[in-house]
């Protein structure tokens, strides 16, 4: 293993196809972490399974690469047990909005101070090209032979309507802006969603680099503290805005509301059982 000085691993061999948007996301994430001057030891990336979810294998941080669709619950728990860690949950659109949809809903409700990065390539990459929850209506695949007949998930509208405290969308083609918004998401205190448009050059021949370029534009003149407006912008369909849609700094994060962190900051492994109280509680059960 290389020395843990920075977030890049030297000579990393990825499983990604040449030209895949994931490389740009990896770079943007490394950039953001570097700019935040975090120590690799402080950062935990929790991921599911998929091409996107392989990202933590390719940079120098703590990693919890769990099950497909299940990154958010461990991420929430890790942050709850050690609020000093910077916790990022990362995965694909299938991972996070399909298999993991229920955790998406309920993590928004909890509002833990974690960053949620979703590589949205509108397809299942790793399993070779089936429709994902964000695939567009009519998108044809070997399984959806007549094209997708379900309405795609709009993760931004969903998150804003559920009261998420930071909601953004970026296109990985703009690495600088991607890095910048990831940075802001990490800095945000509370749950922060960054939906990242990512071309899959192998299995999505519709939503290509070119397509994303042509179908997106930067949010401007937008008050990211106005929830109704944020929702409206999130529901735009013709051209898809990029940027921070919504931000609410006043929501208390999940782990800060837990009584365990109220008086003590000691990490869990340093804590000891309160034997005296246990004895007292046992005594209270004397018949």
């Amino acid at each position: 293993m290389t020395k843990i000085k920075q977030f890049e691993i030297e000579q990393v061999k990825t499983a990604w196809c040449p030209g895949c948007g994931n490389f740009m996301i990896l770079k943007a994430l490394q950039q953001a972490l570097k700019e935040l001057s975090l120590k690799p030891q402080q950062v935990v990336i929790v991921s599911g399974i998929g091409q996107a979810a392989k990202t933590p294998h390719y940079l120098n941080v703590n990693m919890f690469n769990g099950l497909h669709g299940r990154a958010l619950p461990p991420a929430t728990a890790i942050k709850a047990c050690n609020p000093e860690l910077t916790v990022i949950a990362e995965g694909g659109d299938g991972d996070m909005y399909g298999e993991g949809g229920n955790h998406f809903l309920h993590t928004i409700r909890r509002n833990p101070n974690i960053t949620h990065l979703v590589h949205n390539n509108m397809v299942y990459g790793l399993t070779k090209g089936q429709a994902s929850p964000t695939s567009e209506f009519g998108f044809k695949t070997p399984v959806q032979t007549d094209g997708v007949i379900s309405e795609p998930v709009n993760p931004l509208a969903l998150a804003i309507s559920m009261g998420a405290s930071f909601v953004a969308r970026v296109f990985c083609g703009d690495t600088k802006k991607t890095a910048d918004i990831i940075k802001k998401a990490i800095q945000h205190s509370g749950y922060a969603l960054v939906d990242i448009f990512q071309p899959c050059v192998t299995f999505n021949k519709v939503n290509t680099f070119k397509w994303f370029k042509e179908h997106t534009y930067d949010l401007e003149d937008h008050d990211s503290h106005d929830r109704n407006q944020a929702l409206k912008r999130a529901m735009e369909k013709e051209k898809l805005p990029l940027g921070i849609f919504y931000q609410n700094e006043d929501k208390n994060p999940f782990e800060q509301q837990l009584s365990v962190h109220e008086n003590k900051k000691t990490p869990f492994i340093m804590r000891e059982l309160n034997r005296q109280k246990l004895k007292e509680l046992l005594k209270s059960k004397q018949s």
């Binding site: 030891q41 099950l67 619950p73 461990p74």
Partner: protein, 542 residues
């Protein structure tokens, strides 16, 4: 119950709305089929237990309510309760009545009510409940005076020094206490009868013991959260029942692969599917044994007594942490909801050993440089290393690999982790003569009921072998089973799941099985008959 100072009692929810109380002048911890005194509070209650009534059963209740040929000693619970203000007070009146009949101490009864409602922060309920208790108590006096009832048919309760310091708790509380004593500081679960008691107990005491208690959106989230919590340094558990465990199956496999410790409390109820949510069964042993795709080691404990529930739960956290494997605690609705008094529990001394190291910069989470398969666990930001847990097959650093040699080594590493555990395994408990011919085998919640059945039968060469560790099957088992001429496996399920496990683990076949699967626990009197029958059929021979 709380007023049974010279006796031990047992109670459990037998119907959605019934409770069995057993009072004796010596310790009893098992239910019986026989009913001495029945206080039916609702219309259907007599019918529900009709097959358990004998000629000598006394029935006390609102006579006009019941359509029965049997004699009912008339006590108008409903009217009395309504006088106090609500039909629900009928319960407390019945308790008062029982207290009166057994000549218990009404002062202690009142004190109990005060404490109970104060603890629940429902002080407003105290006065009416005390009135109800008194009413019932007076009613008992009347019944005796008017000769409706012969007071000598009842045990008279006297205070006893012997059990003065005993605890009166149920299985759910015992598991909760065991968890706290085992250093549990994280529980994530989704409510499910009959397992919820443990979640409630730990939530109630979260402040005192610095526990994070989180109700998850579903069981999948619960188990994945708990694994995350272990990863970050907590001692975490989940509590659930069969359907919930079914949903946790994939997460259990994750724990197996990332080599995460995990503690899973599984309170069984009758299945399949929703089944009988408020009844009892031992039908999910095989589910616990094989839950999770792929092959990895696990430990399954099944307490037979309330004391053991405390003991094995505490130990479960230690074992999970030490061996980095999922540890199951298998109980059932019967265990969860039964109360009896037990001797005070000892509180562990000394620091809790966490088996966690402060990492160096070159830390490898799955280093193969170990001779027992166990690589010391690191925790993020505790030391200079990085901690990489991976659900793919991985190399020593926790990075995904397809190297076939590494695959073989990792499979062997994971599956050898319990080799050392044998030394500290829980041996099965042999009760009765050492030179038995007949060996009754039980596991989990049937301990007391088999013991009492055998005590009743008093057959000189019959013994009980009880397992509180059901998997890995303890090594001593073979020795014990070999010695028996007839083995009788007793299980609260349909297929005799533990007998099957014993058979593959020991190669010894078990021909006699006593199985019960109607949702109720065994009764010691009924079981005694069945054991007797089983022995006479085979003559105590194989």
């Amino acid at each position: 119950m709380f007023l049974l100072p010279k006796s031990i009692c047992l109670a459990y929810g037998e119907r959605s709305n019934s409770i069995q109380i057993r009072i004796s002048d010596h310790p009893v911890q098992a239910p019986v089929r026989r009913i001495d005194l029945l206080i039916p509070l609702d219309k259907d209650a007599i019918a529900h237990v009709s097959d358990r009534l004998s000629k000598s059963t006394i029935i006390i209740g609102d006579r006009e309510k019941f359509d029965t040929d049997r004699e009912v000693v008339d006590v108008s619970f409903s009217n009395m309760a309504k006088e106090i203000g609500n039909i629900i007070f009928a319960n407390t009146i019945a308790v008062g009545l029982l207290l009166g009949l057994t000549e218990g101490d009404i002062k202690e009864g009142k004190q109990f009510l005060k404490n109970y409602f104060t603890l629940k922060k429902k002080e407003e309920f105290i006065p009416d409940n005390i009135r109800a208790l008194e009413k019932g108590f007076q009613e008992a006096t009347r019944l005796v005076k008017e000769k409706h009832i012969d007071p000598d048919k009842f045990l008279h309760m006297k205070k006893s020094k012997e059990i003065k310091d005993d605890l009166l708790i149920n299985g759910a509380e015992a598991i909760g206490f065991g968890a706290i004593a085992g250093g549990c500081n994280f529980i994530s679960s989704y409510p499910m009868s009959p397992s919820t008691g443990v979640l409630v107990f730990l939530s109630q005491h979260a402040h005192e013991f610095d526990i994070i208690s989180e109700q998850a959106e579903d069981e999948i989230s619960a188990v994945n959260m708990a694994i995350g919590a272990w990863y970050a340094g907590a001692r975490a558990m989940v509590t659930t029942s069969g359907g919930g465990l079914a949903l946790m199956t994939e997460g259990i496999s994750l724990a197996g692969m990332v080599e995460s410790p995990m503690v899973i409390h599984l309170a069984q109820r009758p299945g399949p599917a929703t089944g009988l949510p408020t009844r009892t069964e031992q039908g999910d042993l095989q589910l616990a044994l094989y839950a999770g795709h792929g092959e990895f080691p696990r430990i399954i404990l099944a307490p037979g007594q309330i004391e053991e529930a405390y003991e094995v739960t505490q130990k479960a956290f230690y074992l999970a942490d030490k061996y980095q494997v999922p540890v199951f605690i298998l109980t059932d609705q019967y265990t969860m909801d039964s109360y009896y008094n037990v001797k005070e529990f000892s509180v562990p001394e000394g620091k809790i050993d966490r088996f966690i190291i402060k990492t160096d910069a070159d830390y490898q989470r799955y280093s193969l440089d170990t001779d027992n398969g166990i690589t010391p666990r690191g925790i993020p930001n505790h030391g200079e290393g990085l901690v990489r847990a991976d659900s793919d097959e991985h190399d020593e650093n926790g990075l995904i690999t397809e190297d076939m040699e590494v695959r073989i080594k990792m499979m062997e590493k994971r599956n050898s982790k319990l080799n050392d555990f044998k030394k500290e395994a829980f041996a099965p408990n042999l009760l009765g003569p050492k030179d038995y011919r007949v060996l009754c085998v039980g596991w989990g919640s049937t301990y007391h009921v088999i013991k009492e059945a055998l005590d009743k039968l008093n057959i000189p060469d019959a013994a009980l072998l009880h397992f509180k560790q059901v998997y890995p099957v303890p090594e001593e088992s073979i020795k014990y089973l070999r010695k028996a001429k007839q083995i009788i496996s007793i299980e609260n399920n349909y297929n005799g799941q533990f007998a099957q496990l014993l058979e593959i683990s020991t190669g010894i076949s078990i021909e006699t099985k006593i199985l019960k699967y109607n949702g109720l626990p065994f009764y010691s009197d009924e079981l005694a008959e069945e054991i007797n029958h089983a022995i006479s059929e085979k003559g105590g021979q194989k």
